[in-house]
Amino acid sequence: MHKTKLNTAVRQQVLVLYLANSALDSPVTAWARYDGAGKVRHQAGGDEEPPYATGLAALQDGWRLIQASPLINHNSGDEFRTGYFKYEFFFEKLVSKENDQLE
């Protein structure tokens, strides 16, 4: 089968940071990374220290913020229930994947 070499194919790297409050310059409490370029396979429990100390530090390193958790009013009767992390920020970087091939 004919294969076409694409030297400048673009892939998305995704960084998810969970912060201590709604401010982007607050400390990172949890994180996840996904590499669409396939250079690294990040797995659960694989890191002990976050890649950045704050969300702002990620911005300063070139990550683009693409989604942030909204602040949601507390439903009556549900004010003291805790569950999922509240302050979730999605970032992306677009990287070129060399020697990519299409079939």
């Binding site: 998810v16 201590a20 409490t29 949890a30 996840a32 990374r33 659960a44 805790t82 509240k86």
Partner: protein, 310 residues
């Protein structure tokens, strides 16, 4: 009362962090016996014949489910382990289910053409809003080293209401722990603890026996309460404090944060722990560092005073 039961301090740690750890509580002879049975059963990929880990109907009382002629039955009757179990879920608890997790070395998995993956973070079963709680017993019959990828768990996550693997996106959390322990160690975990299996980078298969137990009695003062004092419930100065407070007191333990706490919901965790402790104690006036008393301070009940507009 049996001295094999948990202390008040142990229970406060359980209420606050969601687990009790008993290092090397199972003696070497029983570990070796159980491990030999496991390796015989799983090493040749035979179906479990029913003697190592018997197939038991869900909801069977633990003493009937795991009898004294079985290795597991002998382990569950070890006085210190039995005392810890009964401190949490009382006597005659029910075997919900049990399971042996068998994790070969990653190199073996990859040699077979599969990828070795860490299990996503999750909370077992499904969304659970009971006030009662189950315990999950994690028994490690062999020494677990760092490279064996012991269970990953998040202390203090047990009171969060989430639904199973909905939390899988949380790859890493500050304060997450990996079980590293001597042979014969048992963790007794609240059913709500967030956890997951890690990758086994060693050259030895890792075994974990996991048992879920449901309570049949109210979970009130089931531990050894002889060390419980009035001082544990006495209000103390807060914020502006002249004397350092005892870090091991019940109130200190219940209001100690975890590295992953958000600034606002970390305080809600304190409040939820205090309510949990009230239920364990059977005392709805208990408070720690005034977190709940402040919220209950309503001199006038507006709902029951129709002459006062609200």
């Amino acid at each position: 009362m049996s001295t094999n039961k948990l202390s008040t301090h142990d229970m406060a740690i359980f209420a606050s962090r969601g687990f009790v750890r008993l290092d090397a509580v199972v003696p070497t002879s029983l570990n070796d016996q159980f491990l030999e049975e496991l390796e015989r059963t799983f090493g040749v990929r035979e179906v479990n014949g029913g003697t190592t880990v018997p197939a038991v109907p869900a909801g069977t009382e633990i003493d009937q489910a795991l009898t004294s002629d079985q290795t597991l039955g002998q382990i569950m009757r070890l006085p210190r382990l039995k005392g810890a179990i009964e401190s949490l879920v009382g006597p005659n608890s029910l075997l919900d289910h049990h399971f042996v997790h068998v994790l070969p070395p990653a190199a073996d998995i990859e040699a077979a053409g599969h990828s070795a993956n860490a299990q996503h973070l999750h909370q077992d079963s499904t969304i659970d809003v009971r006030k009662a709680f189950d315990i999950q017993l994690f028994y490690y019959p062999q020494e677990i080293t760092q490279s064996m990828g012991g269970t990953r768990y998040l202390p203090g996550s047990h009171l969060r209401i989430v639904n199973e693997a909905a939390i899988a996106r949380y790859q890493n959390v500050r304060g997450q722990q990996h079980v590293v322990c001597p042979a014969g160690t048992v963790f007794l975990m609240h059913h709500g603890i967030w956890h997951g299996g890690s990758i086994n980078r060693s050259d030895r298969t890792r075994y974990l026996y996991k048992l879920r137990l449901n309570p049949t009695v109210p979970q009130v003062r089931l531990w050894d309460t002889t060390d419980l004092t009035d001082a544990d419930s006495t209000q103390l100065p807060i914020f502006f404090v002249r004397e350092r407070q005892d870090p091991d007191s019940v109130q200190s333990v219940l209001t100690r944060g975890e590295p992953w706490f958000e600034m606002d919901t970390g305080r809600i965790e304190f409040i939820n722990r205090i309510h949990f402790w009230r239920r364990l104690l059977g005392d709805k006036t208990f408070d720690a560092h005034y977190w709940v008393s402040r919220l209950e301070c309503e001199p006038i009940n507006f709902e029951q005073s129709p002459e006062i507009p609200i």
